[in-house]
Amino acid sequence: MAEPMGFFTDTTVCIGCKACEVACKEWNQLPAANGGVRTLSGDSYDNTRQLDGIHWRHVKFIEQFSADRRQGRWLMMSDVCKHCVHAGCLEVCPTGAIVRTEFDTVDIQSDACNGCRDCIGACPFGVIDINPVSGTAQKCTLCYDRLKGGLEPACAKACPTQSINFGTIVDLKKLAQARLGTLQRAGETRASLYGADEHMLGGLNSFYLLVDRPEVYGLPTDPKIPSRNLKPSAIWSVFGSVALTLMAMVSFRNRGTRDV
């Protein structure tokens, strides 16, 4: 395997230009929702609203202003698949369409996927959805095709402010630590890294620098792997089976003789 690659997204320098969103669509030839004719969402400058099968990058806008405007922030964040080291989507996929690549990224092979959609609810971040054109589940491939060709991902290339940093996870972590240090020294005590260590799903290969609680950015504080529920659910079900069997045995024991 090549060295693990990924993204470090520094949300503090994101200018919300959406160049990444468009670059992704252009490179991957993804359609616009409803042919591009939509209604105004009214949610700040976000009109695409979510990651899904045709939005593999999505820029979020969070307005935080006090009524007198003395405190005011407009947070922007370009969201994408986290390429989790322990990936829920990959775990549940029944067709094996979701694979871990040699770059330690998580990729959906569209030609293997049959559109069962199990992966959608399995992803703790709401990243995946069906692409109506292919009828299969799709999400960021971390530009697997470009990486293969030695190019950086289209979104990172388009980002004018280096909010999206692409590289080896080792380098990115160094960069992120340095930036975090700078910000904290500058008094931004709320700055923190999200998903940069193993505690979160074994590590997110696409991790973030945030300046507020993750929920504010629409990110779960404590994302979990779906299979956590497998064993307890199974045990309860076995108990249930045993109980039902016993009840049936008791109920049916030698019944029905009179009518035969």
Partner: protein, 851 residues
């Protein structure tokens, strides 16, 4: 300055632009500066994506920029730091005209309550066409410098070429100076008095910006100016689109000169240009009032009767512009080739002359008056710009209209589905305009150069053939020229001599391009660069080679040197500097003039030629010549200690410590004695339409602004209760201008799908307007519908103790495209500043109602 230099700034003030949204790629440099610790300040009525990146967002009421900048000037001049750090004194005394004495006749706005001496009624001359739109006019005589002996009466211009004697005849005595800056008529004292009213309290009263925020901005700028640190400003059309727009820019330049922030790395005033090659289009101009290289267009109104008259009027004896005869003669040679000779004044008489303001707005006024027969509309979409309804009515009165575009724009279909037609105001059958649509090639489908905002030419290559009948814009010009030449070939009329003599040898050598009728872009670049008249294979290496005797041919002197040899197109260079080396990337493309990146960079060294500081070194004197990271903007071997030669012309008239070599006095102008129509110093005037009575002076708005009185172009009077709110119009990152280029692209339309009005929760509540609910916005000119985007990023202002609401409207919509909506320009007025006739799209008044 240029955008990359902003990465070297210690403080960046973005005012008059929403740089992050409108110049996102160039914005990488401020962001790099920020990552290195620079402070970012955004002065904008709204909290935008730029504000989001800034350390300080200073909200100001639209149109109050001069008050804010004037406040900064006042604050700086009164500050301890400015008065104690010797750097500022040295810079200001030697590199600006602070010490120059102004004539006794001059009266300022303090004396005349908001106007300068010399204000007159506007009196159009007989030769002038009647659509100039001025409401007043200044006689600039009283603004001039004081000179010791009275100016010599001008002798009749001597003959030429060479024209040196003519230039020498233009010499006037040098102005008087007082380097102690104490003379009450010195520029410095005038400036100080002029801005004495602009106190922090007044700034708050006029702009609505909280005093603490203003002081924080001022302190940050002060702390980041000086020997070791530099501050830069960036602006775009939120400074230009005002009836006193050039004054805002001038005010900023004044401040930057006072702070020593000109000609140095990370310093200066960054003019962010709009379109990809808008800089190029003003250099090689599509401007009506100038010919190539910012020379004034021959005019019927200015005593430009003959070449000598023109030179007499347009040449300054001192400074680099003393070379004007060389630029002009080489230009005429380029126009008329062999037919241009000494004896016929190089064909000067054949050159067209202007008779007034022929810019965009008056042209559409003229159309409305039926004075214009036809229009070639190439890469523009006037049907949704600037009082759109008036502009469309103008289009409807044309006999013919050519639209050359990539899309069927609103302009191309105005006769079919404009609001006037769909509402029944105009009937299709009554519109006689014959519309021709020429599909246009895209930039990647031909080769040529771009000139970007840093005056840098970059060559681009053809990547694909244009589809079908699409042709380049050069093709249109080329074919028109050739066909008109053929038409005029047999004319004996003297007025057609120019056309008959025109040189036009741009046919492509490539057989395929030739067959398509396309010209050769390199041949055009060569014509612009220039060559030896009798040896066209010998390209000129730079404008130093230009002659005024007809031996050189050069269309645009400022571009001379981009193509110094047939095999060396310097615009095509793509060699970056090695990483982490200080430098100006001189091998990447080619920037005019002479591949210089920072203009007036002599000012990056002190009087003795030493860098002001190690941190801020850029160009310096090494004992024998000027050297450094950039191409020095100075005579290469002229020592810092050299004195001006008395009685000399050109650069010899300047000393070794006069960095501003384009200026006749070699220094930066705090006070502008000539060249501006609206005053030698910036003044806060209210926009042409304002709900506020000017808190500073009795003069409400610019006494010399332009307003065209025609039906559909009424202005609301000051404080009109029917239109109580300020409205400003602007761009979104997601769309491009009239939307022609973005509203057909589903990837972009889904990002911003519908027209919207940004409105504060306070005003929305007052008006009962809900987020995403429809609102109607009206002005005396028109009304539009848009959805409300209720956001605290907009705020009400307290102006002069009263709450003034503002709303904001992006202007990208129209009736063509995948997504459609009302154009903001249904609301705007044809009013303009007196210098360059730019409309006031950034501050006017409106009413807002729930729809």
């Amino acid at each position: 300055m240029y955008p990359r230099s902003m990465a070297d700034s210690d403080c960046i003030v973005i005012q008059g632009s929403n740089m992050a949204e409108c110049h996102p790629v160039a914005f990488r440099w401020p962001m790099q500066a920020k990552l290195k610790g620079a402070k970012l300040i955004h002065v904008d009525p709204r909290f935008t994506r730029t504000s989001a990146m800034a350390d300080i967002h200073a909200p100001i009421r639209p149109g109050s920029d001069v008050a804010f900048l004037g406040g900064l000037i006042h604050y700086v001049l009164a500050s301890e730091r400015w008065n104690t750090d010797p750097f500022f004194k040295e810079f200001v005394v030697h590199y600006t005209n602070a010490a120059t004495i102004v004539g006794q006749d001059f009266k300022g706005t303090e004396d005349l309550d908001g106007v300068f001496s010399g204000l007159m009624q506007y009196t159009p001359s007989i030769k002038e066409w009647p659509l100039d739109g001025f409401v007043g006019q200044y006689d600039v005589k009283s603004w001039q410098y004081a000179t010791s002996p009275p100016a010599r009466p001008s002798a009749p211009p001597p003959a030429g070429p060479p024209f040196d004697p003519l230039v020498r005849s233009l010499l006037t005595p040098p102005p008087r100076r007082d380097e102690s800056l104490q003379d009450s008529h010195s520029v410095f004292q005038i400036v100080k008095r002029h801005f004495s009213r602009y106190t922090p309290e007044m700034v708050e009263r006029v702009t609505g910006c909280p005093r603490e925020t203003f002081i924080q901005v001022a302190e940050t700028i002060l702390a980041n100016s000086g020997r070791e640190r530099t501050t830069s400003f960036a602006y775009a059309v939120a400074w230009t689109q005002h009836t006193n727009g050039p004054q805002m820019i001038g005010c900023c330049a004044l401040l930057q000169l006072l702070l020593g922030n000109i000609g140095r790395p990370g310093a200066g005033v960054m003019a962010l240009r709009g379109h990809a090659s808008i800089q190029g289009s003003t250099d090689v101009p599509t401007l009506y009032h100038s010919i190539h290289g910012y020379m004034n267009h021959p005019s019927a109104l200015k005593g430009h009767e003959s070449l000598r008259d023109w030179l007499h009027a347009e040449t300054t004896a001192r400074g680099y512009w003393a070379n004007t005869p060389k630029f002009m003669v080489s230009y005429l040679k380029s126009m008329y080739g062999a037919a241009a000779t000494k004896d016929n004044d190089f064909g000067y008489d054949w050159h067209p002359k202007i008779i007034g303001d022929h810019s965009h707005l008056p042209m559409f006024v003229a159309m409305n008056e039926g004075r214009v027969k036809g229009m070639l509309c190439v890469g523009q979409n006037p049907a949704t710009s600037l009082n759109a309804s008036v502009e469309r009515k103008g289009l409807a009165r044309l006999q013919w209209l050519v639209v050359k575009d990539n899309w069927l724009t609103e302009t191309a279909t105005f006769w079919k589905n404009s609001p006037e037609v769909t509402s029944g105001q105009l009937r299709r059958e009554d519109i006689q305009t014959e519309v021709f649509f020429f599909p246009s090639a895209q930039v990647a489908e031909y080769e040529g150069s771009f000139t970007n905002t840093q005056r840098m030419l970059q060559w681009h290559y053809k990547a694909a053939d244009p589809p079908g009948d699409c042709r380049t814009d050069l093709w249109l010009t080329h074919q028109l020229a050739r066909r008109l030449q053929a038409m005029y070939a047999d004319s004996t009329l003297s007025r057609d001599r120019g056309f008959k003599s025109l040189t036009w040898d741009f046919d492509a050598d490539d057989p395929r391009e030739r067959e398509r009728g396309e010209p050769d872009a390199l041949k055009i670049l060569k014509e612009i660069n220039g060559y030896a008249t009798d040896a066209p294979g010998r390209h000129l290496a730079g404008f130093g080679d230009l002659k005024d005797d007809g031996s050189t041919t050069c269309a645009s002197w400022i571009y001379c040197g981009v193509f110094p040899a047939p095999d060396r197109n310097l615009a095509a260079r793509k060699q970056p500097d090695p990483p982490n080396t200080p430098g100006a990337q001189l091998d990447w493309g080619w920037a005019w003039p002479a591949n210089r990146r920072i203009l007036y960079n002599r000012a990056s060294a002190d009087v003795r030629g030493k860098p002001w500081s190690e941190r801020k070194k850029w160009v310096w004197w090494d004992g024998a010549r000027w050297t450094g990271y950039d191409v020095p903007d100075f005579a290469p071997t002229k020592a810092p200690s050299s004195k001006a030669t008395p009685g000399a012309i050109g650069l010899d008239a300047l000393s070794g410590s006069d960095p501003f070599i384009m200026k006749p006095d070699g220094v930066g102008w705090l006070y502008v004695p000539s060249g501006l129509a609206d005053g030698p110093l910036p003044v806060h005037y209210e926009p042409a339409e304002s709900p506020v009575v000017n808190p500073l002076y009795r003069q409400q708005s610019s006494p010399v602004l332009k307003h065209w009185t025609l039906a559909g172009n009424q202005l609301a009077p000051v404080g009109d209760a029917r239109f109580p709110y300020i409205i400003t119009t602007y761009r979104l990152t997601e769309h491009y201008l009239s939307g022609a280029m973005s509203r057909w692209n589903p990837w972009l339309t889904e990002l911003q799908p519908e027209p919207f009005l940004e409105i504060s929760p306070e005003l929305a509540a007052e008006k009962g307007i809900a987020n995403t609910g429809w609102a109607t916005i009206s002005t005396p000119r028109g009304r539009v519908r848009a959805k409300a985007l209720v956001t605290r990023r907009l705020r009400p202002f307290t102006i002069d103790g009263r709450t003034v609401h503002q709303v904001g409207l992006p202007f990208h919509w129209g009736y063509q495209g995948l997504i459609t909506g009302d154009a903001a320009n249904e609301l705007t007025a044809l009013v303009a500043d007196p210098n360059v006739s730019i409309h006031e799209g950034k501050a006017f008044v409106c009413n807002v109602e729930k729809a």
